[in-house]
Symmetry: C2
Subunit: 167 residues, 2 copies
Amino acid sequence: MSIIVSGYHLTMTEASGAEESRTTERAGRAALDGDLSFLLARATARSMAEGNAALAPLGLRARSYAVLALATDAVPPTQREIAEYLRLDPSQVVATVDELEQAALVSRETAPADRRANVIVATDSGREVLRRARVLLDASERVLHAQLSDAERESLTRLLGKTAFDP
Amino acid sequence: MSIIVSGYHLTMTEASGAEESRTTERAGRAALDGDLSFLLARATARSMAEGNAALAPLGLRARSYAVLALATDAVPPTQREIAEYLRLDPSQVVATVDELEQAALVSRETAPADRRANVIVATDSGREVLRRARVLLDASERVLHAQLSDAERESLTRLLGKTAFDP
DNA sequence: TATTGTTATACTCTATAACTATA
DNA sequence: TATAGTTATAGAGTATAACAATA
């Protein structure tokens, strides 16, 4: 099952900007407005749309950004570990790493301890692109979550951190 | 772009139950653990997986549940309004309403004010199924968010409510 | 002329199975 | 015999365009 779920299904053209009757819609259709699952899905959809739009200038999408970020880990992950962490199918990791490798942002290195496994390591160029990606994402998130104070945003992050992973 | 995004992409078989090395994974791969977008995506993926599993006995999925819920609104929505609220393509609303109508949970009624539009109204049977769905989802969410206290869960819902919609 | 719902279809993403190379 | 990565492909979901009915 994929975590970086809707990244490829987003209509980028409506990622930013107001839509006509948002407030009307919201006021009129309250059946789901207190539904935690629905709010999660809706907030994620917004986040994913804005995130992909923000990353587009760098040629990244949410998924490749996530893989690139993991590849900067002090103990770089194998493809299998990436698949498990992002809940992607291993074959999808192949495709994403291919893409990043062709852009010279990561490299595959045979794991010393197990020559079947590839360890994915960010290149210097990859680290630089990641830094720029984080700047773009930070700005995007500030707009996205403009209704929240800094404290609220931190609180949201903390609460999600407690519930995003299996116990 | 779809809100009820990953509902159909989830591997239901691993929706519940522990996975071997979760804690190891989490401890070892911290590059994204404070990333609000990632946490949102991951929490949503868990929520969607558990939600779909919980709704399966009723023959519902996250998307049909959402449409059914909207159809109980005091001022029932048109298909176009459902599409906008859930950010679904109108043609996907057609398919979902078809499914719900065949199960006699909603009915299409020509909108009095505009005979082009269908208003989607939940049947008595639909309202009863929705009640049962909510019971199942409540139980599912309690397990899903077991790491959160009641106050924290309410807080999470409140914060998401502020950021799930465009300003 | 524009919009609602509908249909058909192209497109994209996901999941499965088979293969190789290591273990 | 089991596992990491790869490939090809089947399956599922999404998006687009064209249509009839109505505004």
